[in-house]
Point group: C2
């Protein structure tokens, strides 16, 4: 689920573009940014229908992905890679550095009914 | 054109969401990130049809906006504010710090024909 991001580098710095068919496999509808001021974990949900791409823009963070059968922990510590998190994957972020800035790009607008926030309910939905 | 961004703050840090009617006045289609490794200016174009929101996620940068009649220079040095840059505004970025990370959100997919990269042509289109 690690996605190598296409980057446009020159003497001025670098540019990373996200739109359908350019570092994204989906139509972009929503994006959000997370700044961590403490090392408290966050996330702990799955989506019924939303697919997302997670990118760590600064600092470092670990992402735990859980498909109901297997847990995977991936470290993001640069903007060269993203993690594609499809629908129905339980996920949370842990061990973020205090300078961590994350962005998430999603293919759906916000809908509170799209969230599964109870792990047992997630497992029941998977099985 | 400075837009105060709605932020969701708690003990874990903060979250800034961008989607239509939530920190954005338009449907999101494309986003990109700029990392500055030198203090070289960048931008120097206007768009025929694209509206954009510029946010400085880290560090500092100055944005120069030019409607063909008047130039305005705005410093962005936090993620509390964004700058809305509507179509047909010549703009460039200057004095970026080496730790600057900028994001731009746009209401159109990339189209090279949407760019005006010659200042005299921009002025002629405006007048």
């Amino acid at each position: 689920m690690i996605t190598k991001l296409k980057q446009i580098k020159d003497e001025r710095g670098k540019l990373i573009v996200f739109e359908k068919d350019n570092n994204l496999t989906f139509d972009l509808k929503r994006t959000y940014f997370i700044y961590y001021k403490s090392s408290l974990d966050r996330g702990f949900h799955a989506h019924y229908n939303t697919n997302q791409l997670l990118v760590c823009l600064n600092g470092t963070v670990k992402i735990v992905l859980d498909d109901g059968y297997k847990k995977t922990k991936i470290t993001l510590n640069n903007s060269e890679n993203g993690i594609f998190v499809p629908k129905m994957i339980w996920h949370y972020m842990t061990d973020a550095s205090s300078d961590c800035i994350m962005t998430v790009m999603a293919d759906k607008l916000y809908d509170k009914n799209d969230y599964i926030r109870d792990y047992n309910k997630f497992i029941n939905e998977i099985k």
